[in-house]
């Protein structure tokens, strides 16, 4: 009896109902994992300790269908198609002045309270004004050398979503 059920699980009876069910599952899974919840593999230290250097996550895309990103929200930015994306924290919007002084991030001359930055930082960067239709993103791991860390302004349209967890 048990063997039969295992056999039926792997080799089900090929009825019309089975094909319809199978088709629906296939199409739904494709749409869900392609346009709604994109699987991604984290590879890099720029968001430590919030996210480890390696891990599995999903990019939840509907989040910005009816809303806009908020300051200090973690966002996923399309870097090269949907094959390579950047996991960063949004820190400034268009028209705002961004500056790093002795490791402290200043937005429009005011220090931003960043409880998520746990590692020591000594970055210095002169003031930059975020251009139109762009946002400024940076990772949480500021202990890396500034030249080794990918951060800066990106087109708003490149924000794909947020990590699911």
């Amino acid at each position: 009896m048990k063997t039969d059920s295992v056999w039926n699980f792997f080799f089900p009876e090929l009825t019309k109902k089975f094909f319809i069910r199978f088709g629906i599952v296939l199409v739904t899974a494709f749409i869900f994992f392609k346009f709604i919840c994109l699987p991604l593999f984290i590879n890099g230290r720029s968001m430590e300790p919030t996210y480890g250097a390696r891990g599995l996550n999903f990019c939840w895309m509907p989040v910005f269908w009816f809303s806009t990103p908020k300051r200090q929200q973690i966002v996923i930015v399309r870097y090269a198609g949907y094959d390579e994306m950047l996991l960063k924290r949004l820190v400034a919007f268009e028209g705002e002045a961004v500056e790093f002084r002795n490791g402290v991030l200043y937005i429009d001359g005011k220090a931003l309270d960043e409880p998520y930055v746990k590692y020591p930082c000594d970055w210095n960067m002169p003031v930059r004004i975020v251009e139109k239709n762009k946002v400024y993103v940076v990772g949480d791991n500021r202990s890396m050398l500034i030249d080794e860390h990918k951060f800066g302004q990106v087109d708003k349209s490149r924000i794909a979503g947020v990590p699911l967890w």
């Binding site: 930015v77 870097y79 090269a80 950047l86 951060f151």
Partner: protein, 165 residues
């Protein structure tokens, strides 16, 4: 069992139909073919004989217009190259690398007129240099093509500047 064979045949038939529709000889298909040749000629699986290298460099130079511009923000490699220069650069690069694989994903072709087209794609370049260093770079690239004597030729490449400080 007969049913499974019928399904396998149906899947095979479907794949053939898909192949026919994807690769039929439209302008878009011809352009995609050029990209395929570009990726194959630029790649290196292992040791290459002088003849292989010569054939690859010849097929590569045949893909380019008389002057092909390369635009990489803030880089010395930006400039205009002739087909001979492109193939000579390729030969130099192949001598530096043990293995090199160029893969093109998410290729979207847009016709900008009867004899002009542009394409946007994700390029992944992986491999190992002769001194043992591994590399893995993924970039989003915009390309322009021009039709001359019925043949689509690359006339410009621009690496998308996604994130800028």
């Amino acid at each position: 069992m007969v049913k499974y064979i019928i399904i396998a045949l149906a899947v095979l038939l479907g794949a053939c139909a898909l192949w026919f529709f994807v690769f039929r000889s439209t302008d878009e298909a011809k352009i995609k073919k050029q990209f395929q040749i570009l990726a194959e000629s630029a790649s290196k699986a292992g040791e290459e004989t002088a003849a292989t290298l010569y054939l690859k460099s010849a097929s590569l130079s045949a893909l380019f217009d008389d002057h092909c511009s390369l635009d990489v923000a803030h880089s010395f490699v930006s400039g205009s190259y002739t087909p001979e220069e492109v193939s000579s650069k390729m030969v130099q690069a192949h001598k530096l690398f043990e293995t090199a694989t160029m893969k093109i994903y998410n290729l979207t072709v847009r016709m900008d007129g009867e004899n002009k087209a542009s394409a946007i794609f994700t390029l992944r370049f992986t491999g190992k240099s002769k001194n043992g260093a591994s590399f893995d770079e993924t970039r989003e690239i915009e390309a322009s093509l021009i039709r001359k004597e019925g043949k689509w030729l690359f006339c410009a490449f621009k690496i998308a500047q996604v994130i800028e400080r």
